[in-house]
């Protein structure tokens, strides 16, 4: 029942953000300068932000950015984890030692500072959309190590399993054995890692956004929307808390779904 509720909620959020162009009363960048920080009205159902931009539009478009790109980054991280962890675990030997060292290195890095540094090196004239895509790609490229460690352990177990022994006896080996027999058996672990990564990347982008290093103006994301809470005006109206509520509910829904996935895995 809970799973259905979570799925329904996520689906509703996804559909609303996908239809932002039709649902939102105005563009996310349009500034209504006569009514900055306005409360609910027919023209602006969720009011306006401090620059007079329609909050509903920004929430919908921001949700679209976060909900589209966080799973994309999670997919990238999962693929990298599957390749690096799976190959290292399956072949063992020096590959395994090298992969372990690399994973330890990546995990020990202060990723937030690394991300800030890498972001500072990006071309300045990248459009906001390209910049947000690069930011999430960076998140994906830096977020694979934890999942790779788990996948590596799984692949090592599989290498000694009866299935692989049987496949080897049947003449299967090398890449074919890895693709046909190892990867499918790692699928539940990879799926779980994917679902774990989605909320992690949503929160990572939100962290960057709160530091002012997330998505460029005027494109909204949950991170940049959360920055509204820095203002004391946030205490005066519950409308300021909508992005936070949406973030908490979405991440919670992902976590509840994940719990089911882990059980099935």
């Amino acid at each position: 029942m809970l799973r259905i509720a979570c799925l329904t909620f996520l689906l509703a959020v996804a559909i609303a953000s996908a239809l932002a162009g039709f649902v939102a009363p105005s563009g996310y960048a349009q500034q209504f300068r006569d009514v900055p920080g306005a409360s609910c009205s027919r023209q602006h159902p969720l009011g306006t932000d401090d620059l007079g931009r329609d909050r509903l539009a920004r929430v919908l478009y921001g949700t679209r950015v976060s909900l589209l790109l966080a799973p994309a980054a999670a997919l990238l991280a999962t693929v990298l984890a599957a390749v690096a962890g799976g190959i290292a675990g399956f072949y063992g030997g020096w590959l395994l030692s090298a992969a372990k060292a690399l994973i330890d290195l990546v995990l020990s890095m202060p990723w937030l500072f690394l991300l800030i540094t890498v972001r500072a090196l990006l071309p300045l004239n990248a459009s906001p959309l390209l910049s947000v895509c690069i930011t999430f790609a960076l998140l994906g490229c830096l977020g694979w190590a934890g999942a790779a460690r788990i996948v590596c352990a799984g692949a090592r177990d599989l290498r000694r399993s009866d299935i692989v022994l049987l496949a080897r006896a049947s003449g299967s080996g090398g890449l074919r054995l890895f693709v046909r027999h190892i990867l499918p058996n790692l699928a539940p672990a990879l799926r779980a890692q994917f679902w774990i990564s989605v909320p992690v990347f949503i929160l990572a982008e939100a962290n960057l956004g709160v530091l002012g290093l997330g998505v460029s103006e005027p494109l909204p994301s949950w991170g940049s929307l959360l920055r509204e809470l820095e203002s004391y005006s946030a205490l005066s109206s519950p409308l300021y808390w909508i992005p936070l509520a949406l973030l908490v509910l979405t991440v919670s829904a992902f976590q509840l779904l994940l719990h089911r996935e882990e059980v099935f895995a």
């Binding site: 960048a29 349009q30 500034q31 300068r33 900055p36 401090d50 620059l51 007079g52 800030i116 540094t117 500072a120 300045l124 004239n125 990248a126 459009s127 906001p128 910049s131 530091l211 002012g212 290093l213 460029s216 103006e217 005027p218 920055r227 820095e230 203002s231 004391y232 005006s233």
Partner: protein, 543 residues
Amino acid sequence: MKRCLPWLAALFSLIGLAAYPQPGTQLRFCITSQPKTFDPLMVMDESSETVRYLTAGVLVRLNRKTQQLEPALASSWTVSPDGRTITFTLRNALRFSDGTPFSASDVDFTVRRMMDPAAHSPVGDAFRSSNAASQVITHILAPNRIAVTFPALIVGIDRLFDQVGILSATSAQKEMAVLGPYYVAESKPGSYLLLRRNPNYWRHDSAGRTLPYIESIRLDIHQNRDAEMLRLMRGEVHLINALDPDNFDRLRAQSPQFAIDAGVGLDSEQLWFNQVAAASIPAYKKAWFASMHFRNAISAAINRDDLARIVYRGHARPAFGFISPANTVWFNDRLPPHRFDPQATLALLRQDGFQLQGSTLRDRAGNAVEFSVITNAGNKNRERMAAMIQQDLARIGIRLNVVTLDFPSLIERITRSFNYEACLLGFVNDELEPNVQMNVWLSSANNHQWNPNQKTPATAWEAEIDRLMRAQAATLDFRKRKQALDRVQQIVREQEPFIYLVNKEALSAVDPVVHNASPVALRPQTFWNIDQMSLGAQVAGKR
């Protein structure tokens, strides 16, 4: 048991008194970091500056309200006609906080130390001239008279001594022996500083009572501005020197008697284009940025009134130029205000061959007009301004990409790699004397941000600014200086190497229990008259 109760109550009272400062005797406010130095000649950071202001004695003091110099440790002073020599007559029978007598030899020691190249004193930098080979000569004329001669003319030489905290030549306590209203009694790094009233402070009130009135000052080290605001509301601190507009409005709504707007300040926010010849930006963009019409057009396309009204909630004013209207002496009041006029903008751009095609502005060669502006991440007001400018420029077909960078990356780009197109930043200005901006306006200066360190001026108008700035720095004739600086302001206005956006207002908070506080736009806004401030009932109390 009953007999024990009064003793217990007294004991608890004593414990209470020891643990918490007694109201009425201790002023409390926050500084953002541990002061890096207590040496008044080595001050570079804001917290050290606060401690210097509260503890160091100076020969002359700039009255932050009247903007006039007043005698302090020196009862009088004269400046020679060539502007190189200043002669001070010192007050008699003064003592440092540790009891060491004060005399002209302490001034001699301070000046020599300040000007010693090996000491690298930031305060001394303001007195140094290009004639570095020559030495500063001090001449003790009497125990209470000293003449200091500099190798070259220094404009506003007397004003510069407002920053020179006098050190003792003989005290064993070195820089901790002070002549100011307070001395540092206790320092717990990272936590707080306790300043106590200097028993030997020279100043008295009209009734003959020794100043300052307040016994001690506790400076709590707090980085978080919001926490500082909460502490003010709880009565744990008495002052906040600089408030952002959000907090100011909130405070004004809740406790209007706390919130004080001292009017427009000296700080400005501005935008500039990278005009460095060697910068790695396309040649056609360099041509745009070098064009006066292009810069004027961008300036006219920005709605400064909206920036002041929305971003600063009305607590800023559209800027005129590099001298704020708060600087009543040097501001050129003949400068007209900037007009927001998108139509005039397009007319200006057409003069340079720009054409609006559909919703995109294109240059003569057909390049779409698009550039990036960098600003520091985490500064909410600058990010908001950038977003508003982005929309203003979109109206005339210009696409602006806003890039927020961490501060070290931003500084690297604007000072070393010059890998940027435009930058939005603010200048903090503490000084009324425009001469201190020589390091910005001379084309050879490293803070000439749009094109620093030029061997020869790249343009005729920069050459004219160089000439005028040097001319005003070479004379003590106020009329000639004012004329030169008015012309510089006019050139800057016409050429707009910096597109000035707003001057922020000086917003501060003072608990009503603090008497005689009179916040001003100049730093330190709230406690510039600390020796005359008092707390609560103590104002009428006996000392």
